[in-house]
């Protein structure tokens, strides 16, 4: 699966796309593939603060529970409620299925993340 070039990525396998001050965050195809069938997503609440490189929730698959790491610092503005009943959407369309939206506190953090090419190189090395 192609990694959208207009997204940025973390080494913990989250993606983020930014429009204005709002960042949209999900997990990558590589992440969903490693996790297997996702059965539950534990996301923060609207208004919660998230910190770059710190956990903001977790995803549970049949195999394991894995932490979600925030690519940026900011405040949660929206949570994808559909994942409560359809967590498998992350498996079928990882790059279209967002988990939270965040108002960025520091736009510079976005620039320091991996671009698609660097992320693809990173996961090739990790395999």
């Amino acid at each position: 699966m192609a990694y959208p070039t207009n997204y940025r990525y973390t080494r913990e396998h989250e993606w983020i796309s930014v429009e204005g001050k709002i960042g949209t965050i999900g997990i990558t195809d590589y992440a969903q593939n490693s996790l297997g069938d996702i059965v539950y997503v534990d996301a923060p609440k609207v208004g919660d603060a998230v910190t770059a490189n710190a956990t903001f929730g977790s995803v549970e698959s049949v195999k394991a529970v894995s932490d979600l790491f925030s690519p940026v610092t900011g405040t949660v503005t929206e949570v994808n409620e559909a994942l409560k009943t359809e967590p498998d959407k992350i498996n079928s369309a990882p790059h279209e299925t967002w988990i939270i939206k965040v108002e960025l506190a520091n736009a510079a953090e976005y620039d320091s993340l991996l671009d698609a090419a660097a992320y693809e190189k990173f996961i090739t090395e990790e395999q």
Binding site: S34, D37, V39, Y40, E60, V62, K63, A64, V65, S66, D67, P87, D88, Q127
Partner: protein, 506 residues
């Protein structure tokens, strides 16, 4: 008859309810077997004045029957006996569940634990009339202190995670006594999931520490991460990939330099007993699993037992009561301990397990325990050598008591570790641990323990080699396993996404 036996098992089970061996026979839920009016008890005539429950208890008295199943005694016996035959147990064969140390539970343990004076000892009996059981507890404490190289111990915690919780409570209490409880606990990414859960429950932030290329601790990364707000590092040694952390001294120094403590998860103690002592390599506090290392029953409710051993400076914080010996040699429980974290378990812990563990330790003796450790390590390395040409070995560092492969080669054929594990059931073995530790993608974690003979190990190796061949030739056979069980592959995803948690009357 021939057509029926050829039909899929599920279909056969639908058609036939009684005329099959009980292992494959249907067994409905105990609620579904209920019929009104049946009972498995007969009360004698009332020989005391009857009372009106409603007058005594008012609204608390149940208006409707509780809806409990009604069965005769033999129906209950048969129900649970049949269910028990669907199970797999160490008494049926090898149970190579990595990280769990599913070793044989010696029959002598069971014999000793049933000695009347020990089995019937009442926890409310006065200390002076309980000297026998207190001697057992005292001797076990001394043995475990010697084995771990620590200074003090509590036997109260009910199992491993409870031991972790108790241990981190000690860490917190000690830091508080120094004026600052501190904020975070560092945990390697190879750790058992209970470690971060423990830290969080004890009010600490969890900081992840990435393993180095050998699957061990990266000293530079650790040194950079430890600061004055670090309460402790929780470390499993040997690690969950079965590798001994050779730099453990340096790890301890890095922590102690900043006033942080070293907690050791003793889950893998079966690789160390009689060889090295955590107390000698810088550990401040640790737990043991009597149901792993010390041969008490594991699984099926055990119950477990997770003693916590610590260095002298943590002793004042141990849970109450603490056993002490008076000048006259008698043993007593001491409750007046102002700095204690308090009680973590009713009475004195799972006492029946103490008797079994002590029987195991005394029956083996120091040399026997050392031999046990050597055999456990030998068995794991035997399996490693015999399978490493077919299964990928992600970390080449020498293995201790368990070996971790990955499904990399089999995954190329679309067969994952979980499929191989399910196929192993068809060969008569309990699966190994699947997909753990998380630092190995598609992990197969195999721990044979010292209990297995070379003959049983060879059977297991033959099974694993045969499955590897099937992956090459008939991968679908492995992907759809198990085939010989009462129920075939279960839909784990639906079970997790749409769980049915209780039976309801129709």
């Amino acid at each position: 008859m021939t057509t029926e036996t050829k039909a899929p098992l599920a279909e056969v089970n639908r058609v036939i309810g009684k005329v099959r061996p009980h292992q494959t026979q249907n067994e409905r839920l105990v609620f579904e077997k209920s019929a009104p009016g049946k009972k498995a008890y007969k009360l004698p005539p009332l020989d005391v004045p009857s009372v009106d429950p409603a007058a005594l208890l008012g609204d608390a008295v149940r208006k409707e029957p509780a809806g409990l199943p009604e069965l005769s005694e033999i129906e209950i016996i048969r129900h649970f006996t049949r269910l028990s035959t669907w199970n797999y147990a160490i008494d049926l064969g090898m149970y190579p569940l990595g990280s769990c140390t599913m070793k044989y539970n010696p029959r002598v343990n069971e014999f000793v634990s049933r000695i009347e004076g020990l089995a019937e000892a009442h926890p409310y009996r006065h200390d002076e009339y309980a000297q026998g059981i207190l001697d057992v507890i005292d001797l076990l404490q001394k043995c475990l202190i010697e084995i771990t190289g620590m200074d003090a111990i509590t036997l109260q915690p009910a199992a491993g995670a409870h031991g972790e919780f108790t241990g981190i409570l000690l860490v917190r209490a000690w830091h508080e006594s120094q004026g600052n409880a501190r904020k975070k606990i560092i945990i390697p990414d190879s750790a058992h999931g209970t470690n971060p859960a423990t830290a969080a429950i004890c009010g600490y932030q969890v900081e992840n520490l990435k393993s180095n290329a050998d699957g061990g601790i990266d000293l530079e990364a650790l040194a950079a991460q430890v600061d004055e707000e670090t309460a402790a590092l929780m470390l499993t040694n040997p690690s969950t990939i079965g590798v001994f952390e050779e730099q453990i001294h340096k790890i301890a120094d890095i922590l102690h330099d900043k006033g942080a403590l070293l907690y050791m998860d003793g889950a893998n103690m079966n690789a160390l007993v009689g060889k090295v002592r955590p107390g000698d390599f810088g550990v401040d506090v640790m737990h043991l699993n009597l149901h792993k290392t010390f041969s008490t029953p594991h699984g099926g409710g055990g119950p477990g037992s997770g003693p916590v051993a610590c260095k002298r400076f943590l002793e004042p914080f141990l849970p109450t009561p603490v056993l002490y010996t008076r000048e006259d040699g008698t043993k007593h429980w001491e409750y007046d301990r102002p700095q204690s974290v308090g009680r973590v378990r009713a009475f004195f812990g799972n006492t029946g397990m103490f008797i079994r563990a002590l029987a195991y330790i005394l029956a083996n003796g120091p040399d026997g325990l050392r031999q046990t450790t050597e055999d456990a390590v030998l068995n794991a390395n035997y399996i490693r050598k015999k399978l490493e040409d077919l299964y990928e070995l992600p970390y080449k560092t020498p293995s201790m008591h368990e070996v971790v492969f990955s499904d990399k080669r089999q995954a190329a054929k679309g067969v994952k570790t979980g499929d191989i594990a399910k196929r192993l059931i068809d060969y008569g073995f309990h699966p190994y641990t699947v997909s753990f530790p998380l630092i190995v993608p598609g992990a197969l974690m195999i721990e044979p323990t010292e209990s297995e003979s070379v003959e049983e190990l060879d059977l297991f190796i033959d099974a694993m080699r045969s499955i590897a061949k099937e992956v090459e030739e008939t991968p679908e056979l492995v992907k759809s396993a198990p085939h010989s069980t009462r129920v075939s592959r279960l839909d784990e995803v639906t079970a997790a996404r749409k769980p049915v948690l209780r039976w309801k009357p129709e």
